[in-house]
């Protein structure tokens, strides 16, 4: 053992990591989440079939129970859906779409919310009042309702759903960033930066923003999970993504009609994939909040 290494102080990242690992559930969730992401990323190389290449799908394989052999020879471990797609392949491709929509919506909402929140915090006065009123009003409506209004207006499709999700979620980021920025800008380091006659833009971007990152990361994880849940809800209702963009919600919706006749697997397995995705993101987010929130520090 290297004695020097044990004497050396932990870097902040190492400390963060060791605190994160204190919860076994959080670590397990992180592992599950990483596996899901990896499976989704590698989908084209590890699935027996591209479920949306019509040449590879055979209607004769339709509605086969888990473990059946497809006409092409491979085993459908999770069964097949009404159109004869291998569910294992369809689920991995579905996770790709669900994750893409959730991450894109979460990221865009984060950027827009951060810019608006920082503007409110630094412009103050009427601008601040106006922005925060808008945020309050929007947050008084459930996200589902806002998304439904926008879907009614915009129609279906990946780009439109992302817009609807961003519109339903930006306010959470704006409020968090504004509150954090207000607290941070009252601290000494900002005062010191002002004394150095740095421009407001520079202070906001280089000094205040980095210190707002911790709550942003926490809220970003939780909101991404809820974006995925919201997208799958809309898709399940038939007003979200189209059949040609089969997210997990679309797969579950497709299988719903077969459920009554006992062909549970067509909805059930995509449902389990959705459950694992959402719950693992939420549990990782919970632990991030505990680790990153200074008020909860022991």
């Amino acid at each position: 053992m290297n004695t020097e290494a044990t004497v050396m102080k932990e870097t902040p990242l190492q400390r963060f990591w060791s605190e994160f690992c204190e919860s076994r559930i959080a670590v397990a969730s992180l592992v599950v989440l990483l596996i899901i992401i990896l499976l989704a990323a590698l989908a084209p190389w590890i699935t027996p079939q591209n479920p949306y290449d019509l040449a590879q799908v055979d209607v004769l394989d339709g509605k086969l129970p888990p473990g059946s052999d497809a006409y092409a020879g491979y085993t459908m471990w999770l069964g097949s859906d009404g159109a004869g797609r291998d569910l294992y392949s369809a689920i991995l491709y579905g996770i790709r779409i669900s994750l893409t929509v959730g991450l894109a919506a979460g990221f865009i909402a984060l950027i827009i919310g951060t810019v608006i929140g920082l503007t409110a915090a630094y412009a103050g006065g009427r601008v601040d009042t106006f922005i925060m009123r808008a945020v309050d009003i929007q947050l008084s409506f459930p996200a589902v309702l806002i998304a439904l209004v926008l879907v009614a207006i915009l129609g279906r499709g990946i780009d439109k759903i992302i817009i609807a999700l961003v519109a339903a979620q930006w306010a959470y980021y704006a409020r968090t960033v504004r509150a954090t920025a207000m607290v941070e800008s009252a601290k000494e380091y900002v005062e010191a930066a002002r004394c150095l006659a740095l421009s407001t833009t520079r202070i906001v971007i280089r000094h205040v923003l980095p210190n707002c990152l911790a709550p942003l990361i926490v809220i970003g994880t939780v909101q991404t999970a809820s974006a995925i849940a919201l997208e799958s809800t809309l898709s399940f209702l038939g007003v979200g993504l189209r059949q040609t963009e089969p997210s997990l919600g679309v797969l579950i919706s497709n299988g719903f009609e077969y459920m009554m006749s006992g062909r549970y697997w067509i909805s059930f397995f995509p449902g389990i994939a959705l459950l694992l995705t959402i719950v693992s993101i939420n549990l990782v987010g919970d632990q991030l909040r505990d680790v990153l929130n200074p008020r909860l520090k022991r």
């Binding site: 309702l145 439904l148 809800t233 719903f256």
Partner: protein, 325 residues
């Protein structure tokens, strides 16, 4: 105080007006209802007649003014599909939704408070940890997913409960409801439980937090010192004090229940206004979509207005802060 109420009223009116503009113009941009409603075999004269009958030939600004005038008199236009006034259609579907929402609110209270109480009184027991873990799941799982699992378990695998429709209704005390028949109740149980899930979790959390905070208060210690039985301390002294925030939050959540009933009603084919909205969205039945959205927005604005005013009465700081900003 008066100034505060007037300002809030104006603000509420502005929100309703903005929503009417967004909803009306937005919804009128989707698709072309002419394509959907007129059979491909119809001749030109028939198409023109239908367009005129539905008022689709006029400029959109004029259609909006006509719409506003209609809204003021409670007329949102006729449904393209049913040929009935949209408002009448929605009001016709409303009792089923309100019934579902009220029953699920009741479930949230009847299930949430005892579970939360247990978890708060015995925080170290395994069961309590299970309850808390369950409430985390209740928050993070999408409603439709849980509904699907409920159908699978109770309707398909066990075959105990029906999974679609409202069942038999009966009239009692002048109210037509599924609550009065066995068949109706069996149809109501699963959708109500599904809709209640988020609120059950919420009540569990609130009750548990309330109990853990209140147990160390002096009035609890004093009640014990008087020699009251533990059950009396909990059921009278403790409950009275923790119920206030729970009731407040649940009142606020009622609007959310109506909004989320869109999802539950679609899964369980419950004939309420949420299912009507989704069906109308899929069929591009614009008057019904617009009317539903306007009614639900109005509903939310009224709830928030009442809550704001009540809070400002109870807590003058809210009012002062609003004036300062």
């Amino acid at each position: 105080m008066t100034a505060f109420i007037i300002r809030r009223l104006l603000q509420a009116a502005l929100v309703v007006f903005l929503m009417s503009v967004i909803v009306f113009f937005g919804v009128n941009v989707i698709g072309d209802p002419v394509d959907m409603l007129i059979s491909p075999d119809a001749d030109q004269a028939e198409i023109a007649r239908t367009i005129q009958a539905l008022g689709l030939d006029r400029p959109i600004g004029e259609q909006y003014l006509h719409f506003l005038k209609g809204v003021a008199t409670g007329d949102f236009g006729k449904s393209f599909i049913f040929g009935e006034p949209a408002l009448k259609l929605i009001l016709h579907h409303m009792p089923a939704t309100v019934e579902l929402a009220l029953v699920s609110l009741l479930m949230a209270i009847l299930l949430g408070i005892p579970l939360g109480l247990y978890a708060g009184l015995y925080p170290d027991r395994k069961v309590s940890k299970g309850i808390i873990a369950g409430s985390i799941l209740g928050f993070s799982l999408p409603t439709f997913w849980v509904g699907l699992m409920l159908i699978m378990l109770f309707a398909v695998v066990l075959g105990w409960l029906p999974s679609t429709g409202r069942g038999d209704t009966a009239v009692f005390l002048g109210i037509e409801s599924s609550l009065w028949t066995r068949d109706g109740l069996s149809h109501l149980f699963l959708p109500a439980l599904n809709l209640a899930l988020t609120n059950i979790s919420l009540v569990i959390r609130l009750t548990r937090a309330g109990v853990r905070e209140a147990m160390h208060q002096d009035y609890i210690k004093f009640a014990r010192a008087k020699g009251l039985s533990e059950s009396r301390v909990v059921s009278v002294h403790l409950m009275k004090n923790i119920l206030i925030p729970i009731v407040t939050v649940l009142g606020l959540e009622f609007g959310g229940l109506l909004a989320f009933s869109v999802v539950t009603e679609s899964i369980f084919a419950w004939p309420g206004m949420g299912k009507l909205l989704i069906d109308s969205l899929l069929q591009l039945d614009r008057p019904v979509v617009v009317a539903y959205l306007m009614i639900i927005v109005l509903f939310f604005v009224v709830i928030n207005l009442v809550v704001d005013i009540l809070y400002s009465v109870l807590d003058p700081r809210v009012r002062l802060k609003d004036q300062g900003a």
